[in-house]
């Protein structure tokens, strides 16, 4: 039974929620506004109404081809996420349904790898990539992004899987399902919301990853992060151009997030309410 809430309180909460949302979204909104200004307007100070020029977009496109970077971003983010799921689903299954005394330690250890500053392993990784011929290759970077996001993928899936009653899997086993069938036909369909939100979140993480994508690529495998980085300048004004490049780079992921927000929210709160 839900508590009775007055219309006034409801209204207040709605306004508050919108304000918080606007506050969080404002930097992105202002970037988009700035992208429609001239460089002179961009530096002139705070102004929410742009002149509406498309000059920055034209200059950005003339200087660098957006499409090439976009394709790389799609390949890297989707590829690394799919690859991570293939590894993480069995790993999360074993931890959720066949735990040992050490499972918790292993989970913590996996998470602890995320605590290491990436710069600390830059040179060793760079040498490995160099010797394997993986520098500036999509394969190498897909592997790299998969590995750095893997702990999060496993953790997320593990928490979702724990919400699924083990008895259902047991029942399928009693019916003679093999391990493969149990994971593919019983567990996975039940965990679809969880898997979907894990996938979406990791695509976003991989899309925005700007340490390794900048440092392990030059031209062939460079994604949109490199596209943005090429518009910052130590000498000269570039705010409008940089905003245009950023808007172009975040637009696809923003649109994807908008259309899949229901899955994202359902997945993120999955298991939170008992």
């Amino acid at each position: 039974m839900s508590r009775a809430v007055s219309t006034q309180t409801k209204f207040g909460w709605t306004i508050a929620a919108w304000l918080v949302a606007l506050l969080i979204f404002f930097p992105i909104l202002y970037t988009i506004i700035t992208s429609f200004k001239t460089e002179t307007e961009a530096i002139a100070g705070f102004d929410l109404i742009p002149s509406g020029t498309l000059q920055s977009y034209a200059e950005v496109e003339a200087q660098n081809s957006y499409f090439k970077f976009f394709v790389n971003s799609v390949i890297l983010s989707v590829g690394s996420t799919l690859l991570a799921l293939i590894v993480a689903i069995p790993a999360a299954w074993s931890m959720a349904f066949a735990p040992t005394n050490r499972t918790k330690d292993i989970l913590m250890w996996m998470l602890s790898t995320k605590m290491m500053p990436a710069a600390a392993v830059l040179v060793p990784i760079y040498l490995l990539f160099r010797d394997a011929g993986l520098l500036d290759s999509r394969v190498g970077l897909t592997l790299m992004l998969m590995l750095i996001n893997l702990p999060i993928v496993i953790w997320m899936l593990y928490t979702y899987f724990r919400e699924i009653p083990g008895e259902i899997l047991e029942a399928s086993r009693m019916d003679g399902a093999s391990l493969w069938n149990e994971i593919v036909y019983v567990l996975t369909p039940m965990a679809v919301p969880g898997i979907a939100s894990t996938m979406l979140l990791n695509i976003i993480l991989a899309w925005n990853e700007a340490f390794w994508t900048l440092r392990l690529t030059t031209t062939n495998a460079a994604p949109l992060t490199a596209f943005i980085a090429s518009f910052s300048s130590p000498q000269g004004l570039f705010w409008a151009k940089l905003s245009a490049a950023s808007t172009l780079a975040i637009a696809p992921i923003l649109i994807m997030g908008w259309f899949s927000q229901r899955q994202l929210v359902r997945g993120l709160t999955f298991g939170a309410v008992k």
Binding site: E39, T40, I43, L122, V123, R130, L135, T219, A229, Q235
Partner: protein, 434 residues
């Protein structure tokens, strides 16, 4: 028959391989570099067997990226855009190839001697300058006239200080002077190190002992902080080149001491509201024989790990040649030619006409001596930096302290004491102080 087939197949493969030589060039997003990318058709039409790949990155990312690649011999780049700070350090590490095959008509002797000196080690050129810069005073002729002041061609710091305070007092919406305050070895420390040279200060004595506890540094930093407090813009501790450029272009600064390359921006009527009111003067001095101006050249070098050194050298030769300057002039006018690299450019009457700041730029460059930068002797080279690998980190740490002093978060004395402490620790740890 089969033999002929194999032979012709091999020949065509070889031809393809020869045709497909691609060199990768790492560069920064500066106007002159972007212009060069647009003009590369001229190079590829003259060298149809070479293709060019460009990687443009933000300066600090580029420096880190390129350093990783060159230190690990990753071989990702064939041409790198580097500055006068990196060249002597990297050349000594054998990370760069000497440029000894730039072609017969390249005319190395035409490169401005101060710039060539900063890019050479043991008389060998390790990078070719693409554009060079010093720093000088840009000032508003109209405001000076209104205040009854005349800017000399070679002002002193005392005059600059008085003029800045007077103009600030006379005008409510104009700052007397705009200077860098944002922390960083290439930001506020570039300016302050060059300034300190003219005050007789130095980073280290002959035995690598840090000198921040000496009166010259105290005088430098006190002068700077007081001047900015009296006549500088609000929030100056977060202003770098671009922020001051924006202020000056909007008419908010009576004086700005910064890179000579800014001259073409502030005199460009499409961006600058004060384009026709700007005058130029040499960086100030204290009468000690050194001026507070720096020397920098964005240059093209070839990493020792490059597999395509010949093609890379051809490109470097093309991009830094006299013919390239003429190419830019023919397409975009003389005012847009990359400045500060060749003596002949400054003798060209067409350039002198198109660029009113030409003479002052050349005089400023010539007034800087990277091999003898300070009043007292020092064990290092570099005007606004110390050409040792540790300087990037140390310079930025000291820059943060000085920026905090400017913001009023600590006193000048505290900032200098802490700067001395961290410098002694770092130099001892690195083995300079035995």
């Amino acid at each position: 028959m089969i033999r002929t087939l194999i032979l012709s197949a091999t020949a065509s493969l070889l031809a393809f391989a020869a045709h497909a030589e691609t060199i990768t060039i790492a560069t920064v997003n500066n106007g002159d570099m972007i212009r060069m990318q647009k003009l590369t058709d001229d190079f590829t039409s003259k060298n149809p067997d070479i293709e060019l790949n460009w990687v443009t990155l933000e300066e600090n990312v580029l420096r880190e990226r390129v350093t990783t690649d060159i230190a690990t011999k990753g071989g990702q780049y064939d041409v790198m855009t580097i500055g006068t700070y990196e060249v002597p350090i990297w050349a000594k590490q054998n990370w760069l190839l000497p440029l000894d095959n730039l072609g017969d008509d390249y005319d190395v002797a035409d490169i401005i001697p101060a710039i060539a000196g900063g890019l050479s080690v043991d008389g060998k050129l390790y990078a070719a300058p693409f554009y060079g810069e010093s720093s000088f005073v840009m000032y508003r002729k109209d405001l000076f006239e209104k205040a009854g002041l005349t800017m000399p061609d070679a002002p002193t710091w005392d005059f600059v200080g008085e003029a800045a305070r007077k103009i600030k007092a006379d005008n409510t919406d104009v700052n007397g002077i705009c200077l860098r305050g944002k922390a960083g070895w290439g930001e506020n420390m570039a300016f302050l190190t060059a300034m300190s040279n003219s005050f007789g200060a130095r980073w280290f004595d002959e035995n690598w002992q840090p000198q921040f506890d000496q009166p010259e540094w105290k005088e430098t930093l006190e002068f700077y902080v007081n001047l900015m407090k009296d006549a500088g813009p609000q929030g100056a501790s977060s202003n770098g080149f671009n922020e001051n450029l924006a202020l000056f272009q909007q008419g908010k600064c009576a004086m700005w001491i910064d890179a000579t390359v800014a001259a073409s921006f502030v005199t460009n009527p499409t961006d600058s509201t004060v384009a026709d009111k700007v005058g130029f003067a040499l960086a100030p001095d204290k009468g000690l024989g050194k001026r507070g101006n720096w020397l920098w050249a964005w240059s093209l070098g070839i990493p020792a790990g490059s597999q395509k050194a010949d093609a890379a050298q051809k490109f470097v030769s093309w991009a830094t040649s006299k013919a390239y300057l003429e190419l830019v002039a023919s397409k975009e006018g003389w005012a847009n030619v990359p400045p500060g690299t060749r003596t002949s450019l400054y003798e060209n009457p067409e350039y002198q006409k198109a660029a009113p700041f030409a003479k002052m730029t050349l005089d400023s460059i010539n007034a800087a001596d990277p091999n003898n930068p300070t009043v007292k002797p020092v064990p290092y080279t570099g005007v606004q930096f110390v050409a040792i690998p540790e300087f990037q980190g140390l310079g930025t740490t000291v820059g943060q302290l000085f920026s905090a002093a400017l913001a009023g978060q600590m006193s000048v004395d505290d900032a200098l004491a802490q700067a001395q402490q961290v410098s002694v620790r770092e130099m001892t740890r690195s083995g300079y102080i035995k």
